[in-house]
Structure formats: structure tokens, C-alpha cells
Symmetry: C2
Subunit: 403 residues, 2 copies
Amino acid sequence: MLKVLKFGGTSVGTLDRIQNVAEIIKNIKDDGHDVIAVVSAMSGETNKLIEYATHFSKSAMPHEMDMLLSSGERVTSALLSIALNEQGYPTTSMSGRQAGIVTDNAHTKARIESIDTTNMKQAISEGKTIIVAGFQGISQDNGRVSTLGRGGSDLTAVAIAGAIQADVCEIYTDVDGIYTTDPRIEPKAKKLDKISYDEMLELASLGAKVLQNRSVEMAKKLNVNLVSRSSFTPEVEGTLITKEENIMEKPLVSGIALDKNQVRVGMYGVTDRPGIASAIFTALADANINVDMIVQTVGVDGKTDLDFTIPTTDWEICKEVMQKFEEDAENIDYNEAICKVSIVGVGMKSHTGVASKAFTALANENINIRIISTSEIKISMIVEEKYAELAVRALHEAYNLDQ
Amino acid sequence: MLKVLKFGGTSVGTLDRIQNVAEIIKNIKDDGHDVIAVVSAMSGETNKLIEYATHFSKSAMPHEMDMLLSSGERVTSALLSIALNEQGYPTTSMSGRQAGIVTDNAHTKARIESIDTTNMKQAISEGKTIIVAGFQGISQDNGRVSTLGRGGSDLTAVAIAGAIQADVCEIYTDVDGIYTTDPRIEPKAKKLDKISYDEMLELASLGAKVLQNRSVEMAKKLNVNLVSRSSFTPEVEGTLITKEENIMEKPLVSGIALDKNQVRVGMYGVTDRPGIASAIFTALADANINVDMIVQTVGVDGKTDLDFTIPTTDWEICKEVMQKFEEDAENIDYNEAICKVSIVGVGMKSHTGVASKAFTALANENINIRIISTSEIKISMIVEEKYAELAVRALHEAYNLDQ
């Protein structure tokens, strides 16, 4: 098999941990597989460099930030290559340029446009393990080094796996897979063996520290089998994220996600003139505010109540935008003390009664649901934040996720 | 004027010092000059990376060492570019690749083969200050990053100055120029305004921490006007190293150099058979031992005494080589307690009596001269190491270098 592995900053955070990664790769090589390993900068390095740049400028030129920030991954790739080679495994490090990764010109948040796999295929055919400096490519316009933004090394790994048609792309972090819910909230949470791309995307809050949505989306698009596993317990099989067709037993519910970083915006007594809702949400979209759940309640007096949620980080900008609509409503208020609990499972598509079980479970705990929104594979509910953990545990139990 | 500036690791060792370098460049720009600045890694960075590599291997692959070690200069170039740009001076950083520097394939000690100045000329024509990551280029064979070895950033600066026909190449360190002798030995030492390439090469021990011979040789070859000056006292004019024809007043003696890292090898009662000296020095050369001064004394009994000096670092290897010749001599001994004092000056070419003044000065201090060797612009003398400083001061005074 051809395996693309990705090791994050924590997994290569010290020289001993780099040695540990070398051991993991050796074992995989000894099992007869070909390996392309994508590495991040040693943990702390990138932040240190950002601090350095900020010392000089709050708005450094993006292409210079890329020149700066791309250096950490280069260091790790050379060190891991040296470590493996020393132990008798032929290796070669590759920068993004050498790995053939071409991006658009959006420095610091570039998108991969194409990957020329010639160099990598040549090295593999020579029996070499390739260590790729993650997070970077070269800009197609000016040929300068570009970086891919947050989660860029994961993207590098997934894109390479797709381009070179690897059998699997294993993302190593300090967590050994995707759980039915956050084990810090529900100790009975179980690690999932398999999960579909769509479920993973909906469970983002569970996987946020492990897999970014951008990578999962790319894996889905390129049909890459993604595995989330830990470099600290490599003997533990991780969670396979794959297309739904590859999952034989489709669970009713795969997991419970919790998102506390939401603010509920309430707009009460809105004069129900045509286009008012459209005007509000267009203005919010123009301000790049990610509106999540929306509920509109039409009253008998021709007035409307509008409820919606936004990420806490967008709160300040949202308030500015909403000033324009103050005269359209009797009152606008913001409630930060809420959270979003979501039930995710591909099995919902073909089963009924999933939602009512959730409502019953929460009602049994006297938890009021303020907003509900449903999609094909997800039911999200806004509840008071103080009930967050209780709600997660109640739902986890209701769907027997600890079995 | 087009000026190439080079800032070493100490000059860019902290964020404040990088800011200081930005100020120096701003002043030069404000005077109406174009600037290409070549930077080293922040002091300590390269050694840290070497330690990292050594943790994994005592003999890491050279091309991986280059991938590793080239990162420090890239970081500095981006930071300095950001700092200058923030203050309204348009800049662009360039890696060795972008600066068009192509080297041979000798990774970690590559030689510059050619410089394509297209990118740099374009940036200059756009009014940009260029910040080049020193010490690196790309290998002409495999296109991977290569590094130039010790003093590589100086070489980068000199080679760029030569290729782009800059008016001057200023090497900034923490020393403000070349002195008539080491000021720690003779506080009356004076900074030289100008000195010829050849004198500088002979005064290597005075300039070792400031300019490496490799850079001076390249400056001579490419006819680059080199200036040694300090980034900590940029208001002080440094020392211009240029071709002899550019120096109007040719001093009799320019400086006194001292080298304590020499071992004197004495081979006594050598049977004077044909080719014996040749055999010895060929064997030493084959072992890459840099034999410096040689004196042969032929006795009346058909026996010969051979005296020569070698660098202290070659002592152990020299002893091994000399074992082969033990039977050719009555006795071989080694004396580490010696030093070499040299008088350097282009004026010697056309003046007589320079040497006798030196011998008189040392005789007056009761210092015995063990070996003497002379060249067109240098007189070197081996004396007992305990007299080193006294000899330097006596010679400095004899030639009125404090005037």
C-alpha cells in the first residue's frame, strides 16, 4: 500500500517525539508499505515566528509571512529525514516546491491548484520514504513560497494522497480517533471505527482539534480514505473517515457534538415588511458573519420575531451590522449563555423517530429547547449553556452510544 | 550608488537589532542609494539546528543539512523585509533561488557557479530594497537548496556585488573595521582607512572574525570594493579593502598580525638522502596538513635539520604521518609554545630595510627569532609564545603604527 501520513506539531514537538515518529514510519515500512510523510513545524515554532513578525508590523506583507512561516516545516522535514536515514531507511525531504504543490496567489491562505507528482513518484520508485514539509506550496503567479493557512499540513497530506492515489491518508495527532462525544464530558464515550465524511463534517466540534473541516471536505472531494489516529499510541487503530458506501453497518446516530461558541440573537416585534429578513441576512453575509440556525415566528399582529445564532467571534461585528436595523424592531437582544447540541448520524436518513427520542431525553432532564434545526443527518438544538454537559450525556445515553 | 550590505548573525541576533539594521538601511536609502542587503541567521539559530541534526546522526546527508540550515537566513530576510516595509520602504525578500544564485552540487560547502541577476535588477528598477537570505543557493544538478559553508553569507554578498556590479559591498559585524593590530594586545592600535586585498589576506588573523579569506579572495577576483564596518556604530566609517591601485598613499607597513595556533615541528639529524624533504612534505600535503613556514639547515656531517610549522588543529594527524619518517631522523620534536608574528604592508615591495627594523625591535626586547620567512608584502617570524604580545607591541611601535 502507498500510505500518506501526516504528523502535527505536537507529534514532532521535541527531538524525542521526532524519533518516535521515525519509529512509527519504520514499522509501517517494515510491513512493506510505501510512505509519504507530511510534517508540521515543531509545536510553538510557528507562533514564535508570528510573534516576531508582529513585533515589526501588525499587517506584514502576506508573501513575507509565507517566507517566514514556511521555514518551520522545512526544519522538521530535514530532521525527520536525517533521523530515518540514519537508521537505514532511504529518505528524501521535499519542500512544497519539490513535492510539486502549486497554489493560487493568495499568500498566507493559498489554495492548492495542482500537484505535479513526478518527483514523488520517482523517489517512491527508488524505494525512498518522502518527508514533505507541510503547509506550503509555490504560488503559480510569482513562484514564491505560499502557505495554506490553518490546518494547512492536513490539507497538504490529503491533497497529496488524492493526487498520487494513495490507499490511505493517516492524520496523526495526540488523540487516537473520533469519539461518539467529547470524553471529557461523557467518560463513557466510545471511539468510532468508521464514520462518513458528511457525519465528520457535522461533528466538527468533536473533531475540531483533530481534523479541520477543510481537510475533510477535500478528502470527500478527492475520495481519500482518511484515518484519525495518535502518534503517542500508534498501536491503537484510529477512526476511518470514508464515503458512506464503504460503511456497512450504518448507525442511527454516530455522535453527539457540542458547540458553546454561539451567541443567540433575538429580534423581537419586527415590522413584517417584505424583504426585511432578506435585508438583515444579506447585511450579515456581507460582513462575513456565519449565521447558523434561524427561526422566524410570525405573530398575529403583523409583527415577527427573528431568532438566529452566530459564532461568538462574530458578535462585535454583528452588533455593528444590527444597528442599521434597530428601527425595524421593538427590541434586539443577545444571549451568550446558550449552546448548540447536535445529534449526527447517517442512519437518520432512513429512520423516523430519531428527533422525538432526543426531545424526550431532554424533556426528562427538564431542559428547554430554544431553537431546533434539522438536516438529513443532523438535529441541532439550542439550549441554555448551563445544561450543555447534562444534555450531551442524556442524548449519549438515549441513543445507547456507550454500547 | 548601488550598495550591497551584509549583516551577520550578531547584527541581526535579536528583534531590536533587526530594527537597528532597518534604521541603517533607511539612512542609506534616504541618501539616495539602491540597496541589496544580505542577511545571516539570527545568532545561535544555525548552531541550534546543527545540534538538532547531531542528535539524530553524526553524519547527516549533506543535502538534508542544507534544507535544515538554510531556514535561519530565510527567517531573518522575511523579518527585515517586514520591518523596513512597515516604515514605508518598499522591499522584497529573496531566497538564494530567487536571487538567482546557482551553485555546484557540493552540499554544505557549495561554490557559487553563477548568479542570474534578472530578478534583482527587476526589483531594483521597481525601487525595492532587496533582502537576500545569505549562505544559500540552489544546486545546479538537483535544484535543491545548497549552502556555502562557513562565511557563506559574506560570500553571497561579495558574489552578488560582483555579478550586479555594485559600487560597494559593506560587511557589517560588531567590529568597526580592520586595525593595525589586535587592540586587545595593543590599545594604541589604529583603524585603517584603506587596505589592499593582498594585505588583508596576509592579515587574516586580524580580520578572521570580521572577514574570511574566502570572501576577500572573491572580492579581489571580482574587483569588488569591500568595506568592513560595524552595525553597532554605523556612524563610524569602516575600512575599505580594495585593489592596490586604488590606494594612493601606500604605507610601508599596514599591520601586525599574530597567530598563536601554530605548532613548530623539528626534525633533527635527518640523513640527507635525495628526495627526503619532498617525501615528507608530499605525505603531509596528502593528509591535508597546511604546512606554513619551512626552514632547512644543512650540517657539515651530511645531516640536515628540518623545521616547519603547522596549525595546532593538524597536530594529531601530523604526528601520525611523521611516524613513517621516524627512522630518517635522529629526533623529531614538537613545540606548541610558539607563535607567528607577521608584519604586512604593500610598501615593502619598494622599500629596503623593513626586515632589519623588525629584527632590531625584537632584539631590543631580547626576543629570539626561531624561524623567519618573507614574501613580497609580509615578513613572518616564529618566536616563543610567551613573547607574543610583547613582540606585537614592539613591532607596532617600531613602525609607528600608532601615529
